[in-house]
Point group: C2
Chain length 195, copies 2
């Protein structure tokens, strides 16, 4: 299993937003929607071996976690607007435990710490960070979890929580990219390792 | 200069479309909008050494070409909707020769053949194609032009026109990706070569 965990520091935690304004009133939810696109889409397929967890920390009810499971996903299209509608539907649910919103999309009130604790212990944790070791020189396991942030860095506290999992710090090249672009570069590298 | 040429076979050639329906009535313009995002965005910057030409071949007035120049671009945001608005503004202009629509965005009625003929002869032409040589094993020049298609392959005729420029066929790995994802993988590879 290939997992991505993305922290959306200001991303809205209710379904009360307009699909016409995903960048503004939705707390840069657009960043997370693009992360969905780059996690799952292949030319004529959806990646079935990928799981993506989006951790939403914006108002009004943080935290919320949206978990997307590639092997179950349906109704996902590559554009931001229709993906935004799927996530809005999920955010409209009262999530106490984890609840299914649509095929392959689950919503819960798990925190970042909760999410990391639910990931199987035998996975390889990777922290995507500019000062890490070049991904091309790193051994990558088949069961692997990449943790990254939205357009803001992980906070000191979030970084400390991650350190409990002894992640390897990994970089993707000499230039710093958007989160969704990072996921794509990772997917390409993983595709090359596996086949 | 790093150039990308992307052919949008059904992309609408007038400004008469809704920003709420970029995938449907705009002839999969969404594919080209994502190509803009992946061509230009860095974490906190716009790539100034990139030029992107989008060739629109859909109704009602094909062909139209939108040329985006990284060193001049302003008002570009990463989301699909606002980028769609910039392209719609360009398509509302009567383009006989090439005309500037907004900073860094030009519109013309150039065809695919015209566009290739305007690119400096001393550039290295690369045709992104699944059966090509792995990009990691290919010598890449600083002045380079990557030609790719939208969600449909280049037609036999388009491929023949490209062959006049003796392009190198290059692939990006074992799996076939969306056009915007291809551009990202290319940008990462180029970033690694240059720095």
């Amino acid at each position: 299993m290939r997992r991505f965990v993305v922290v959306g520091h200001r991303a809205i935690t209710s379904g009360d937003f307009k699909l016409d304004d995903l960048c503004g009133s939705a707390g840069r939810l657009d960043v997370l929607l693009r992360a969905i696109n780059s996690s799952f889409f292949l030319s004529h397929d959806i990646r079935k071996d990928v799981e993506l967890q989006l951790i939403l920390l914006g108002e009004p009810e943080p935290p919320k976690t949206v978990r997307l499971v590639g092997s179950e996903l349906k109704y996902l299209n590559p554009d931001e607007r229709s993906t935004g509608a799927l996530i809005r539907n999920a955010l409209m649910k009262k999530a106490k435990g984890e609840e299914r919103s649509s095929p392959g999309i689950y919503i819960s009130n798990r925190s970042y710490k909760d999410v990391l604790s639910t990931i199987p212990k035998d996975t390889q944790f990777v922290y995507l960070k500019e000062d890490g070791k070049d991904i091309r020189d790193v051994k990558l396991s088949g069961d692997i979890t990449f943790v990254l942030s939205d357009d803001q860095d992980l906070s000191a506290e979030e970084e400390e929580i991650l350190m409990d999992y002894s992640p390897e710090k990994v970089s993707l090249g000499p230039i710093s990219y958007h989160s969704d672009h990072c996921i794509l570069v990772v997917n390409n590298e993983m595709d090359r390792r596996i086949r």
